[in-house]
Symmetry: C2
Subunit: 249 residues, 2 copies
DNA sequence: AGCTTTATAGTCAAGGTGACTCTTAAAGGG
DNA sequence: CCCTTTAAGAGTCACCTTGACTATAAAGCT
């Protein structure tokens, strides 16, 4: 391997000039389930490189903030949602991308985050020229930089976490039907689930959802009105809700 | 939130001086199972801050390498193993730690990696003064910096991945007995597993392990000689091998 | 030889899951 | 207004996995 320069080890007796300074950014893979499709929040690039291509929203980590704080700040800026609203959204570190050539202009190490938001918000960027907007997953050309790989990793991670966590409720509004919750699984996994079995699994898992008392029905749909539920206190799913093999949707 | 300075967004029309340069390092949480205990590879700090405390091995990411390459290079340096040996070890990105105050001297963003190695290697650092050595998990004081948190995250991640992947074989030598494999689970999870049930689960999972033909026994132990197995081609575990609740070991 | 230790075979009941059927309650159309 | 369509919700049944447990085999130890 490359012989490290003097002081290029752990910052123990370090020389402040012995390391290469990198730019550190955050990239956001923001998902929602909308119109029965998985949708992704993207921005269109106005300049080279990758001018005109879609890219993940993101930006630099500022000097006095952590990557997580930067991610939440960027999420608020790109969605136009209030800070308090954004504070309640599910935001989770995905992984860090550090290939030396991932940005042709300079050395940029990017910490990627995955966010899950309910359908409600209208994305409108806050007066920013390059405002973000929702696009159905897969309906855009190749993304800028290594963002296709980041998005693929994020999708895989979300799909996996639906199996063994109660994360699916993060895609839903505060009160939701079991049909809407099932839609989340079907949309993210791209499969069709058996309604009665799904219902049984969710209701018999303690703390996954809790029934809403009030009027036990919801208007708007075509079939029999469904009861409403809220997210429960549980975060893990024991035993897990395993993704079925075949049955493409 | 903080108003970003001009150009402090995504590097689109960026100003090379508009962002704060950070140092980027890698930290390694290296685990092995040795003498029926989970052991961690640590280095003793020779200088302030945290002089004398144990710390995770690690170092700076060099200008032309990715974080993953840096992690594997550091792993080779700290263990004294050959590059080819290290190339076959399980090394996996954990997550990135970026709290502004995690290093009191300067702004350091660290990408943490988890490595799993079999018992075999003698750690001897390659002539380096601060050579790394194995310590049983939990037998050291507070680690330097935020390394206690990193190690806790790594332990949790490894424990979780044992449930739904075939990762446990990464702790074993090329040929191993089912008893040794069970030891891995028991040591990482801190529980006791039922032997016949564990055996049934492993053998009925296609591709988890494959029997070694030759002499179907191994000397050295006290009981009946055990058959030898190699790691199979499978990486995932469907259905998973779930961690039991109670039964502390 | 007898005890201990570990591997390996096998049994049995409880619980979870997949595949299905049936009923109920709404919306939409002729 | 009746009939079809759609989705919610109740319930059944067989199969598979799992946890708990018993039994046997083959080594080392005293």
């Amino acid at each position: 391997m490359t012989a490290p320069r003097p002081g290029a080890r752990r910052p123990d007796g370090y020389d402040p000039h012995a390391f290469e300074p990198f730019a550190v950014t955050v990239d956001l893979a923001v998902f929602t389930v909308r119109e029965e499709r998985l949708q992704v929040l993207l921005v269109q690039r106005g300049q080279e490189p990758y001018q005109g291509a879609w890219a993940l929203p993101g930006g630099f980590v500022l000097p006095r903030e952590s990557a997580g704080q930067a991610a939440r700040r960027e999420l608020a800026e790109e969605t136009g949602l209030s800070d308090t609203t954004v504070a309640h959204l599910h935001l989770e570190q995905l992984r860090t991308y550090s290939d030396p050539d991932r940005d042709p202009r300079m050395r940029v190490v990017s910490v990627a985050y995955t966010a899950l938001v309910p359908d409600l918000p209208e994305p409108r960027g806050g007066g920013d020229a390059a405002h973000a907007q929702w696009l159905p997953h897969g309906t855009y050309g190749p993304l800028a930089f290594d963002h296709d790989a980041i998005l693929a990793d994020a999708h895989e991670r979300v799909g996996a976490k639906l199996e063994y966590t109660c994360l699916a409720t993060a895609f839903c509004p505060p009160e939701f039907t079991l049909g809407e919750l099932r839609q989340v699984y079907e949309t993210v996994w791209g499969v069709e689930l058996d309604r009665p079995n799904f219902r049984r699994k969710v209701l018999t898992t303690p703390g996954f959802v809790q029934a809403v008392e009030g009027p036990p029905r919801l208007t708007g749909g075509r079939g029999k009105p469904a009861a409403l539920y809220r997210a429960g206190e549980a975060t893990a799913l024991h035993p897990p809700l395993l993704r079925p093999e075949g049955r493409q949707k």
